[in-house]
Every structure is written in C-alpha cells, then in structure tokens.
C-alpha cells in the first residue's frame, strides 16, 4: 500500500470550486483532483480529464457475455440434452435461434452491466469495505474539495497555501491518503 500527503482546499459552492481551480491553474499550479457530492458541469474539462474508456470495456464484456451465452445454450440445449419444446427443431442451433435470442440478449446485458460496474469499482478503488478516499466527510454533503499534489508542483508548501488562500476557500488542510493498494 502506498500513501501520499496532499494539500486540500475546501469550498462551499460548486461555482467557487471551478473558479478556484481556474485561478490556481492560471498561476501554473497543477491541480490533481477535485471532490464533489454531485457531478459539476464542465468540471472535467477544467481538470483536463481524459475521456473514459469504460464504454469500451462494457462492449467487451457484452461481447464476452454473448459468446458465452451462445456456447452454453449450444451445449445445454443442442448437444447435451436436446429438448422438444413446442415441436421446435431441437438438433440445430441455427434453426431454433429465435427461441434463444431473449436469453442471449439478457446474458449480454447482464455481463456488460456487471462487468462495467465491477471495472468501475476496481479502477476507482471503491469496492465495498475499502477505506474512503475522500479527504473530508463534507465532500459527500455540501462541500467541494480541490486536491493539490506536492510532488507534481515545484512550488513550496507555503506558496501553494497562499495561492489557495487567494481563492474563495473556506478551509485549507493537509491529509494523507492511499494512492495505490498494491
């Protein structure tokens, strides 16, 4: 487990957070991350977030689910134990395909959705039972935090604190948080 010490500024308004980040960035300070109880429009652009690739993983999981469903149905219903349901052709996957499409569809959706959710948890380190990553309990309520890294910024601690003070911040504090579990 690796931990790192960060500097945080707490805001009580989402617009002040975005304005604060812009002000810090105009001074050449690299902002590491921001914490908010709800999505803020335009925040990802200000932070320069990369476009998420989770849609691609979801597609892959869906494709995997579809393949698995076809293989399993073919084994259960055609090879291992062909069943005569309503007189439908029971020795051919192709001729009986319409009957299997609902199951294939459901299993594709199941795998895509669960795969995407689990990937999301793993990527964000937010599995149930793990310690919370947010710096301040109020960032899940009505406050917003900006996170500055000492490593990424060449400035001294005091300069960073002063730069934060010049924005409409309500609280400044240092805190250690886990950056990697493995």
């Amino acid at each position: 487990m690796t931990t790192e010490n960060f500097l945080y500024g707490l805001y009580n308004d989402d617009d002040r957070l975005v304005e604060g980040i812009k002000k810090l960035q105009s001074k050449g300070i690299k902002v590491n991350d921001a914490y908010s109880p709800f999505p803020i429009h335009g925040l990802e652009d200000v932070l320069g977030m990369k476009w998420t690739r989770i849609a691609i993983t979801s597609f892959m999981f869906g494709l995997g689910g579809l393949t698995l469903a076809i293989l399993a149905i073919n084994y259960f219903m055609i090879i291992d134990w062909p069943m005569n349901i309503g007189g439908k052709p029971n020795f051919s996957l192709y001729e009986n395909l319409p009957a299997f499409i609902p199951i294939m569809f459901e299993f594709t959706v199941l795998c895509a959705a669960h795969g995407m959710a689990i990937t999301y948890f793993a990527r964000n380190m937010t599995f149930p039972g793990l310690p919370a990553r947010n710096p301040h309990p109020k960032t899940t309520d009505d406050h917003f935090a900006v996170e500055l890294s000492f490593r990424n910024n060449e400035m001294s601690v005091d300069d960073l604190r002063n730069a934060l003070k010049e924005t409409e911040v309500v609280e400044i504090f240092e805190k250690e948080r886990i950056t990697k579990f493995l």
């Binding site: 429009h41 335009g42 990802e44 652009d45 476009w51 849609a55 597609f59 309503g86 007189g87 439908k88 319409p98 009957a99 499409i101 609902p102």
Partner: protein, 397 residues
C-alpha cells in the same frame, strides 16, 4: 434573423421528382398493373405520412417533458409536421379508391363475405363486421386524421404567435397542456390507425403488438429524416446554433428507437413463430416464403447498421456516419412499409421495380416541396421560448 429561402433550384428538383412519380403511375396504369400502383401509393403514402406524424408526436413529447435541448430543432420539426395534411391526403386517396372498389386492397370491404347466403361467406370476417364496416371505418379515419391535423396546425400556429407576442412563460405552460392532451389521444389512436389501415389488409390475422410496432417504425423514420435534414441545412450554412451536442442527442434517438423497433418487431415475430398457430403464422409465412431475402435484409439492416455504427460517442457526432446510417435505415424502413402492404394484397406477385421506386421518388418530391416551402415560411430559429437560452448552451460530454 436567419431565414431559409425556397429557391427555384429546390422547386425544380421537387417538380422533377414529382414528374418521375407521375410517369411511374402512368407506366403502372398503362401496363395493366393497377393493383400494384395502388399498393405502391399506399406504401409511399404511409411512409411519408409517418414522417409528418412522427414530427408532430416528437414536438409534443419534447414540449410535455419540457426538454431544453430540443428548442433549436423546433422549427425544423414544425416544417416536417406541416407535411401531415398533405400526407393525410395521400392516404385518403387510397382509402377512397378502396371504398369505391377501384382497388381490392382491403379484402373485408367485399360485401359478399358478410352475406351468409353467398358462397364467398367468410365466418371469421363476418364476425368482425361491427368494427370493420365502411361507415365506422370512415368515421375513425375522419376522427384520427382530423384531430392529428388539428394538433399539427395548433403546434405550428402557437409557435409563430409565441414569437410575435414575446410571452414565453404563458405559452410554455399552455403548450404543456396541449401536448399532453395530444400524447394521450395519440397513444390510443395510433393503434386504431394501424389496425384499420394496415392490419385489416390481412383480415384474418391479428396481433396485439401491432400498434406498438407501427408506432416505433413511424418514430424512427421521422427522426432519421429530421437528422438528415439538420445535417443538410447545416452544410448549407444554416442552423449554426445546433452544435455537436445537439447532433449527439439526435444520434442517440436514432440509435435508441432503432432498438425499440427491432425489439417490437422481434417480440411479435418470436411469439408467433414459437406458438405456430395457423391463424397467426400465415402472416409471416406469406412474407418469408415468397420474399425471404428482402424480408430478412430489411430486418437486419434496420438493426445492424444503427447498432454497430452508432454505438460510440464519436460516430454519433460525425455527420458522414450519421448520413450514411440514416440513408441505409431510411431505405430499410421503406422496405418495412413495403412489407406491411405488398404480401397482403399482391400475395407472391410483389416486386420492387419501376412503379415502386418511381412513386417513391414522386412522393419524395411532394414531401420536399411541402417541407422546404414550410421551412422558408418562418425563421429557422425560434425567437421566444422559455428554454431557448438553455438550448443554445446545450453541452454534453
């Protein structure tokens, strides 16, 4: 104010297309293929009518749900919506033809079927007489088309008045009421329309899902036409207010409704295929035995193209991809319209040839003439709307 001008070039193209359509009609009549020409009139009439109907419905959906992003598209949809009266006339021509027995499109209109002493007496159809008789049928036509057209006119008129009066708050609330009324009426009557005008062609056959399936087809056709028109107008330098987020939203609609259509089509097909009851399965036997390749092509292109090509965010914002997919599924849904009418009337004799394609072009000419002249009648962007400001700043990631 930004204004679309209906130029001579547009007129020439429209009249050229209408000329092609007239030639196709004459070809159909003088080669002795009257019935084929009537069916073709119904296929194309329904296809273009559904674009107007979808526009009216979509305006109502967005006004009732107070959608902000839609406001920049409003005038375009109003122009499509003003095609509804002309589309209704296209349908009424066929209905009159059927009533006077110039075409035998609706089998149940044959009075011998209802007469117990006739050798053509059909017990099943005779039992449907309380619903399927000419006077009640015409009453429903007048009610449905009348009310739909009334709402189409009201939506357009209110939008123009709103611009002049500059009281967006008042009209915002009034429009919610009006569109909610329309949606309730439309939700019931689209089913009645689809039973009366389409399902009754295969008189013995029935499907409880049919109205939903027709509704999804109507909606996707209208949305696809709207997105192609938007991109065309944008390429001509109009509609600068429409940004890539708006286009993205329209792409999502096309993607989503394609799935809705496929879902309903497949639900109807699978239940009938599985239970395999003679009175139900005839509908699909008539389509699959005689038109196997075209029928499955229709289903597959309407599903595969939007699914694979419009799945990612980048392609939903890419005009080239959208126009390509749009044209493919417009053709796909024209084929869907073809299969609604042809196998029921012409049995295994249906083809896609000069008459069908020629009349498609002719009806497209009428459609372009009406829609483009309506576009030119009002500024392309509404001046006054409660959500206009929100729509202009629409931005999604």
């Amino acid at each position: 104010m930004e204004q679309f001008t209906f130029t001579d070039k547009h007129k020439k193209v429209s009249f050229g297309l209408i000329g092609v359509g007239l030639l196709a009609v004459l070809y159909g009549i003088f080669t002795g293929q009257g019935e084929r020409t009537w069916v073709s009139a119904m296929i194309n009439g329904w296809y273009f009518f559904s674009i107007g109907l979808a526009a009216t419905f979509f305006i109502a959906v967005n006004m009732a749900s107070q959608a902000g992003w839609f406001v920049v598209f409003k005038r375009l949809f109003e122009a499509l919506n003003m095609f509804l009266p002309v589309g209704s006339i296209m349908l009424i021509i066929v209905f009159i033809g059927a009533t006077f027995h110039w075409t035998h499109m609706y089998h149940w209109m044959d009075s011998e079927l209802m007469d117990p002493h006739s050798e053509h007496f059909d017990y099943i159809i005779a039992n449907k007489e309380p619903y399927l008789n000419l006077s009640f049928w015409w009453l429903r036509i007048i009610l449905l088309l009348g009310v739909w057209n009334l709402f189409a006119f009201l939506f357009r008129k209110r939008s123009i008045v709103e611009d002049e009066e500059a009281q967006p708050k008042k009209w915002f609330k009034k429009n919610i009421t009006l569109s909610a009324l329309f949606l309730v009426f439309f939700g019931y009557t689209i089913h009645i329309g689809s039973w009366d005008w389409i399902m009754s062609i295969d008189t013995h056959w029935f499907s409880t899902l049919f109205g939903w399936y027709i509704f999804a087809g109507v909606w996707i056709t209208g949305m696809t036409v709207a997105i192609i028109m938007t991109l065309w107008l944008k390429s001509k330098g109009h509609l600068k207010e429409i940004n890539s987020s708006h286009i993205h939203d329209m792409g999502k609609w096309v993607f989503g409704i394609s799935f809705l259509w496929t879902y309903l089509w497949f639900s109807q097909f699978m239940l009938i295929w599985y239970s395999n009851i003679p009175e139900e399965v005839t509908y699909f036997i008539a389509r699959i035995e005689d038109y196997k390749f075209t029928f499955w092509t229709m289903v597959l292109i309407n599903f595969i193209f939007p699914m694979l090509l419009l799945m990612s965010k980048t392609t939903k914002r890419n005009p080239g991809v959208l126009i390509f997919v749009g044209i493919v599924i417009l053709f796909g849904h024209w084929l869907d319209s073809y299969f609604l009418f042809t196998p029921g009337v012409l049995k295994d004799q249906g083809t896609i040839g000069v008459v069908e394609i020629g009349m498609l072009l002719g009806y497209a000419g009428v459609f372009l003439f009406v829609v483009l002249s309506q576009l030119a009648k009002a500024p392309l962007m509404v001046k006054e709307h409660a959500l206009l400001e929100e729509s202009l700043h629409h931005h999604i990631n």
